[in-house]
């Protein structure tokens, strides 16, 4: 049979679940994923009773365990944070593309829970001894996960680090993540100073494998504007190719 290949669907077990900030949790799932997961990729998890699986960036990946950092929002995330060590979790992944790692000094920017894939990227850059600086922005100090390592912190209210938005830090930059205004600013700054940027996008997803076309954004390709599925062609895009809504 041609199809004796690895199936990307796992029945994982929760090995750690910890509150790491006011409304954010770290969940470590033992699912023996047999492939190497790259920074920027994501997984989807089934949340009991809900129709759509929820996507989360991979925050860590060691010994077949996938770590995710999640912020409580609605029913899906509340279900996940109610789980206990030893509970089963139905996980699919790794999905999507990855950050393109270059031997160049890199600036990493993450806002809010968007810090998850960026933290993973930093770990990979550190491993490869690529000089980098991670600047992160949060609402206030209570929102800063205790298990992340950052170089520069901004908070909206100045309760930790500098007061202001993480985009204030932008004069030279590259990789980053999260809510659109920050993403868009980064892309614009990159364009202005001719610096390559890579951006991780978010869209509500249904299939997460590129078939339903529910998560498309517009990108520039060969001089025209086309649809690209965030789940398949992304979630990481070059800042210069994204057409902002």
């Amino acid at each position: 049979m041609i199809n004796e290949k690895i199936k990307k669907i796992y029945n994982g077990k929760i090995e750690r679940i910890e509150k790491v900030a006011q409304t954010s949790y770290y969940i470590e799932i033992n699912c023996q994923v047999p492939v190497e997961v790259k920074a920027g990729q994501f997984v989807t998890v089934y949340c009991s009773g809900l129709t759509l699986r929820r996507p989360f960036s991979v925050f860590s990946n060691d010994n077949g365990r996938i770590g995710i950092l999640l912020k409580e929002r609605g029913n899906g995330t509340k279900y996940l944070t109610s789980l206990k060590i030893g509970d089963n979790i139905d996980l699919i992944g790794p999905l999507g593309n990855q950050f393109n790692i270059e031997e160049k000094k890199s600036l990493l920017i993450g806002a809010g829970i968007g810090i998850a894939p960026i933290s993973f990227l930093k770990k990979e850059l550190d491993k490869k001894r690529i000089e980098n600086c991670l600047a992160a922005g949060f609402l206030n100090k209570k929102e800063i996960p205790i298990n992340i390592k950052v170089d520069k912190i901004y908070t909206d209210d100045g309760s930790n680090g500098e007061k202001g938005s993480v985009v204030d830090y932008l004069d030279e930059l590259i990789k980053l993540y999260h809510p659109l205004p920050v993403l868009k600013t980064v892309a614009n700054v990159g364009e202005k100073y001719c610096i390559a940027t890579q951006i991780s996008m978010e869209k509500v997803m249904a299939c997460a494998i590129g078939v339903c076309r529910g998560c498309v954004i517009n990108i520039k390709k060969n001089g025209s504007i086309v649809n690209a599925a965030v789940c398949k062609e992304g979630p990481v895009f070059n800042g210069s190719e994204v057409v902002w809504e």
């Binding site: 199936k7 669907i9 129709t51 078939v211 339903c212 529910g214």
Partner: protein
């Protein structure tokens, strides 16, 4: 492996023989082997492709999906690669990997459907499913499938240009689905599939410090919430036609499949549930085979007969 070995699930749709009655629904399963990370696609009864139009389509702008309490709303708008690219790029994989498929076609005028039918005929596409839930541009954008005369004309025109298995997929957004089904049969359909999505809207309201923010999405409602409507539709259609019916709508479990059989369906299509559990189709095939065996039925036909008596 092994799930098709005994042939007890073999299903006959008016001469179209499938190894089992579990089909995956249009728009939820891509064009060919996209789910092969999760299932052996060639073991399914068949897959139905995303709706294919004459020209490639970009689809709708804005938010395209939203989850609801018992399913989801989509407003994809027929984004697809068009028939040319389908034949050039997608067909080969279907053939190479031995994937049984039904091509879902859609158009804006009868001429477009006829054109598609001719191309399918020339390319010996074994089975097509005609998506009639599309606005008829020439008739004030009223959907083809909502009025029996325009439906008859459409299906008849396709029939006259296509020799393969012709399945007509009905929309539930009508006053009498029986009348539409009878018109489809009269026009020469080999089988009927029902139902497509229901029209629905979600308005998400977010209020912060007295400032109201609304996100509105209108589109097709699918998923577990539509199952009773779909089972009801199949049952009513079964009373007025004698061609096979493929039941669609909210199927997530073996019990759901049995319910559709009992209502008169010969086969079923699974849509939204593929998003929730991408291996659901394979799981249900295995469970169905078990069920037939454990309960001592000779084959699926006997099971269906018992379910309907």
């Amino acid at each position: 492996m092994g799930i098709i070995s005994s042939g007890i699930l073999q299903t006959n749709l008016n001469g179209y023989i499938l190894k089992n009655p579990i089909i995956t629904a249009s728009g939820t399963y891509g064009y060919n082997n996209e789910y092969s990370d999760f299932v052996n696609v060639s073991t399914l009864g068949a897959i139905v492709t995303k709706a294919i139009t004459l020209e490639p389509r970009e689809g709708n702008k804005g938010i395209r999906i939203a989850e609801t309490k018992a399913g989801m709303i989509n407003s994809i708008g027929l984004e697809n690669v068009g028939i040319e690219r389908f034949l050039e790029e997608k067909l080969k994989v279907l053939k190479d990997e031995n994937i049984e498929f039904i091509m879902n076609i859609a158009g804006s005028t009868i001429r477009e459907y006829v054109e598609l039918a001719k191309i399918c005929d020339e390319n010996k596409i074994k089975a097509i499913e005609v998506n009639i839930s599309c606005p008829n541009v020439k008739a004030g954008c009223l959907e083809f499938g909502t009025e029996e005369n325009s439906l008859y004309e459409l299906v008849n025109s396709v029939r006259n240009n296509y020799r393969g298995i012709l399945i007509v997929k009905l929309t539930p957004n009508v006053t009498s689905i029986e009348k539409i089904a009878m018109a489809a049969q009269k026009a020469g359909a080999d089988a009927i599939s029902a139902i497509n999505t229901l029209k629905g809207t979600q308005i998400k309201i977010n209020c912060q410090n007295g400032e109201i923010n609304k996100t509105i999405i209108s589109g097709g409602y699918s998923g577990k919430g539509i199952k009773p409507i779909a089972v009801g539709a199949v049952m009513r259609i079964a009373q007025v036609v004698n061609i096979p019916i493929i039941g669609i709508g909210g199927i997530e479990t073996l019990e759901d499949v049995l319910e559709f059989f009992a209502a008169g369906a010969e086969a079923v299509e699974i849509g939204t549930a593929n998003f929730t559990h991408p291996n659901i189709s394979e799981t249900i095939i295995k469970e169905l085979e078990e069920y037939v065996k454990i309960n001592g039925f000779k084959d699926i036909e006997e099971l269906k007969k018992e379910l309907r008596s």
